[in-house]
């Protein structure tokens, strides 16, 4: 009875998880969470979860829920001849008897053990239905709730982007040497001509920026940061109008006149949890009403002044407008 209930729970959990993962992929949401190279694994895992769900349905129909654990646990009380587990066997027997008020009359250290693992007595539950239903049931319920937590977002509303809070905690990187995989790569990249440059995976045309640009060259935030490091690349920008897309982040330091903000992109190593904000400073003297982390398209002239003893990238903007988020929200 309880065993098949557990198998039913397994089936439901696997099915929910599998469906959730595949739905995330089909609705194109997975790309806002993971680096492209990791997405296939997650999709594959989604398929495997569904296959495992089918297996658990099969055992549910056959009524053979978890046959393995049976043989392991049946002797937990009778078998005292195991070389080094005398004491523990005993513990567990005592434990079974007192399950509903577990830990009560055990020594301090045993109590500690039991309390730590409370919520883990489900194995006993299957085989000692007659005692401890309450604790076993509680344990199973607790675990099930934990496993449902990741899906809570579907019901309660899910966030698929960061707010300023995390950006502030991580700090915006303006120095490319502080960015994973940026090393070596730009040295071989020939500016604006090479498809090997780090921007290749996010070519601006994907983001629809090229269409509207009246003579403005569509670039990435990261291009200006490369230019900070490489004089030859900087020359490419001489006297050119460029346009770039980024997320609006207010600039708190180095902004005496209050006419500056940052346009940032999130740089991902493997998933959104390791996202690093990279940004360039934008100088714009007209009043601007954009919400924090809102997407903006900035048109202007790139400059590379020395500020505070180091070269920086400042885009002197003549137009800043709000725009839709690009299909590819991250840079890699």
């Amino acid at each position: 009875m309880t065993a098949s209930f557990r198998t039913l729970r397994d089936f439901v959990l696997l099915l929910l998880w599998g469906t959730f993962v595949l739905w995330m992929d089909l609705s194109k949401q997975l790309s806002t969470y993971l680096h492209p190279s990791l997405q296939p694994y997650t999709v594959g895992a989604g398929v495997l979860l569904i296959i495992l769900a089918i297996f658990s349905l099969r055992s549910l129909l056959k009524g053979t829920g978890a046959p393995h654990e049976c043989c392991h646990h049946d002797h937990s009380c009778s078998e005292h001849d195991h070389p080094h587990s005398h004491h523990e066997h005993h513990d567990n027997c005592a434990h079974d008897d007192h399950e509903s008020h577990h830990g009560h009359d055990h020594s301090a250290s045993e109590k500690h053990e039991h309390d730590d693992h409370h919520g883990e007595h489900d194995h006993e539950k299957e085989h000692h239905h007659h005692h401890g239903e309450a604790t076993g049931g509680f344990s199973l319920l607790f675990k099930t709730l934990v496993l449902l937590l990741p899906l809570a977002g579907v019901v309660l509303g899910q966030s698929n982007h960061y707010t300023m809070s995390t950006i502030a905690n991580r700090g915006v990187v303006q120095d490319l040497s502080k960015l994973p995989s940026a090393k070596g790569a730009p040295l071989t990249a020939v500016p604006s001509a090479s498809p090997e440059s780090a921007t290749s995976s996010n070519s601006p045309s994907d983001e629809g920026t090229s269409a509207s640009g009246a003579g403005a060259m569509p670039i990435q935030v990261i291009d200006m940061l490369y230019a900070v490091q490489m004089p030859t690349y900087r020359e490419e920008f001489d006297g050119k109008q460029v346009e770039l897309v980024g997320q609006f982040v207010p600039l708190t330091t180095g902004n005496p006149k209050g006419d500056r903000f940052q346009a940032i992109r999130l740089f991902i190593t493997c998933c959104a949890a390791d996202a690093k904000p990279v940004g360039v400073t934008i100088q714009y003297d007209k009043p601007l009403k954009v919400s924090e982390m809102g997407w903006v398209k900035v048109t202007g002239t790139p400059t590379f002044p020395m500020e505070g003893g180091r070269r920086t990238a400042v885009l002197v903007a003549n137009k800043v407008e709000e725009c839709a988020a690009p299909d590819e929200p991250f840079v890699y």
């Binding site: 978890a66 004491h87 496993l147 899910q158 966030s159 809070s165 090393k183 493997c270």
Partner: protein, 310 residues
Amino acid sequence: MLASIGWFHFSLPDFQYAFLSILLEGMPFLLGGAILSGILEEFLPQSLMTRLLPRNPRMAVIASGFLGLIFPVCECGIVPVVRRLMRKGLPVSCGVTYMLSAPIVNPLVILSTLAAFRGQAAIEMTCLRFLLGLSVAILAGWVVTYFSPASILRNELIQEQGEDHEHGDPSRSMLDRLQNAAEVAIRDFLDVSVYFVIGAGAAACFTTAVNQEIILPLASSPVLSIASLMGLASVLSVCSTTDAFIAATLTTFPMAAKLAFLVFGPMLDFKLLFLYGAAFSKRFIISLAIGLFFVIGILCWRLGTLNLGW
């Protein structure tokens, strides 16, 4: 949005976002480990393992340190595999060594470390990471041989250790055997996932809510830089196949501290602290954490004072 005290600023949507992305990233590897565990349970004869490992317990521990080269499993997948292998009679000491070394002594991790440190003593870094990870894991296994499994494993695992009933009965149909393997995989996956979800929650909270600038001033002290990067490795809980890319960007920190990050992280990050709970007693996990912190910290600090030209 909510609490704000300088270095700590928690935002629920950000937490939710990072939490789910860690789960989606790590889950395939955890599932892979669980499926491998189901296959091992059904198809690996118990005698094979005892025959392959050297008789001498210390030699067996050393051999386990290299298992990761044959069965490369990263740190999310290793817990269900080790749990299952120990149920099948792998000595606990060997299990601990395999578990700690596999995420480092691993062909993929070696390659990614080489790539990430291109231009900053890549070969030295990769070799030191490999050697240090291997020797610390072997050392931990040796220490474990002095203790009874009862003080190390979780209660249910102790009863089951070595109680394999040769499920691999070849006379049954292939579908039945797969069914068995799948049932074991499901049980292992869901058991371990509980800890994974809790660990991912802890890691997501730290990576989004804690201001990462607080560790920057520590970079100039040899001792504090090592301790703080080990702490950061735990907090970030990045997979061992990609953590080198993160470490390589911590340019203000000394190489010894980056090495500590690369060795400590895969052995004991925040999600692992919870994942290990699926197989080991809490007391053991805490001792392991403290032991690893000091042993890796001291070794890296000594290496840092040797002036290896990195």
